[in-house]
Amino acid sequence: MSQSRFLAACVCIGMLVSSSPAPACGDKFLLLGRSVRYEEAYAAKHPASVLVYSNPATGFSAAAGDVTAILAKAGHKPVAAEERPGLAAALKSGAFDVVFADVADVEAVDAALRAAGSKAVVLGVVYNLTGKELNAAEKKYSCILNAKGKDKHFLAVVNEVMRLRAKGQAPDCKKA
């Protein structure tokens, strides 16, 4: 028996003699785990073909790059387009399920989609608008996302659009 074990045994015997109950020490360790990563949680169950239209004259152009990267990371197929010629060329190149555009460009994008025969859902993005401008946009459109507000989880919105499309439905984005 090693010295340490001998000492431990002596102590144990000593404790027993004094009738002290054995304390519980237990396993104290808590293993650290990763958090659920955003792109894993929102990984596209129904991958969407997404056109991200940015007009350098509008606010959304500042966030379009991040939006495009996050869409790609989640498993969607984003295509980035800038300005009207880029938009027209992109619409000619393939079909899209969803289009992201600054709310100021929604009407122009809608027109371009109609001209191209596309049934894509346009999600208008508001970015750095004043409260008055935001109210005006919300009165005009249903399908808008506030890039700095409660709608920043736009992947959830894209998932919902795709869920509806899988059922042959589409969100009603036009307000009376």
Binding site: S4, R5, L7, A8, A9, V11, C12, I13, M15, L16, S19, S20, P21, A22, P23, A24, C25, G26, D27, K28, F29, L30, L31, L32, G33, R34, S35, V36, R37, Y38, E39, E40, A41, A43, K45, L51, V52, G65, T68, A69, I70, A72, K73, P78, V79, A80, A81, E82, P85, G86, A89, A90, K92, S93, K150, K152, H153, A156, N159, E160
Partner: protein, 322 residues
């Protein structure tokens, strides 16, 4: 007393004991990364146990148990829906008698000398397979935990329990949208088959199998920043009740690993992601328990993500034709 050498590691794996149990409250995920993605992580956890909880859950001031643990882990998704993760932990422990004498608070293990003792602890492996994505993620798990060496299992400052364990169970989880966009909830239930060990006094085989339930609720403040709260609960189905009645000499020295440990813990955490790297902070406390300790933990964890995850802020999109 030393843990039995784990020559069973290869045997257990070959025997098809799939996956590892993440040891007492370890936490994996209902979500499985996409094929080809993986991570390597390094975390440090400091734990401070200030009170013992006896078989009736009554706190007892019998000195503090301090520990630090360094956990190296990794994970990979070799095929879609199948996640494999594993890790190994190095542990430092120290017993603090609170200035009381040996006569008042005697040692009951070789490491209880109020000095730090370090040792490699357990290795673990877990396999998860996602079988359902909607309306709820359902991901069964199986695993194995194996002591890496014959480390110390007796005393306040024991390195660990030194058992081979095989958990099987289930993760469930889901995002909370449209109720609350950006929030998630998940739970892990595991039943662990724990290596047999006898009651030294009676010779009876103790049933140390246990159930662990871990529940987590989280919220993405932004795609890069998430916060979460979690609970960890354990029930052990058999084993010795300690701290109330004196144990006989044969059982005393190594009673901790035989204890019927039950606990309830709560914790919070936050994670910041740069895409290629994630940085997490975590803290927890013990609400209650039996044959256990009241332990507080704080920790930090960093992971490097590879595969598709590493390009989160990259420019992988194709440009529109001009």
């Amino acid at each position: 007393m030393k843990a039995r050498a784990p020559a069973v590691l290869l045997g257990a794996l070959l025997a098809g004991v799939a996956g590892v149990v993440a040891a007492p409250p370890a936490f994996g995920q209902a979500w499985v990364s996409s094929q080809g993605e993986g991570y390597v992580g390094l975390g440090y956890l400091y734990a401070w146990a200030d009170l013992h909880l006896n078989a009736e859950g009554t706190p007892q001031d019998l000195g503090s148990m301090l520990s630090g643990s360094l956990n190296l882990s990794g994970g990979y998704t070799p095929i879609e829906h199948l996640g494999i993760s594993g890790g190994v932990t190095y542990v430092w422990t120290r017993y603090d008698r609170h200035g009381k004498s040996l006569a008042v608070l005697p040692n009951h293990g070789p490491h209880d000398d109020e000095h730090w003792h370090g040792s490699l602890q357990d290795a673990r492996l877990e396999v998860r397979y996602n079988v359902l994505e909607e309306p709820l993620l359902v991901t069964p798990l199986a695993g194995i935990v194996v002591p890496t060496r014959e480390y110390e299992t007796a005393g306040h400052a024991a390195t660990g329990r030194g058992f081979v364990e095989a958990p099987v169970g289930l993760y469930v989880g889901r995002l909370l949208d449209p109720l609350l966009d950006g929030a998630w909830v998940q739970a892990r239930y595991a039943y662990s088959f724990v290596e047999n060990i006898k009651d030294n006094d009676t010779g009876e085989v103790l049933n140390l199998n246990r159930s662990n339930l871990d529940v987590e609720v989280g919220y993405y403040v932004s795609p890069s920043l998430s916060v979460r709260g979690f609970g960890a609960f354990q029930w052990t189905y058999g084993g010795l009740d300690v701290g109330v009645h004196p144990l006989s000499a044969p059982d005393f020295e190594d009673h901790d690993r035989r204890a019927r440990a039950i606990f309830q813990k709560l914790g919070i955490g936050a994670t910041y992601s740069t895409g290629a790297f994630d940085f997490s902070l975590i803290g927890s406390l013990t609400l209650g328990g039996q044959n256990y300790v009241r332990v507080y933990t704080v920790g930090a964890f960093a992971t490097w993500n590879f595969g598709r995850a590493a390009s989160f802020f990259g420019t992988k999109t194709r440009p529109a034709p001009q």
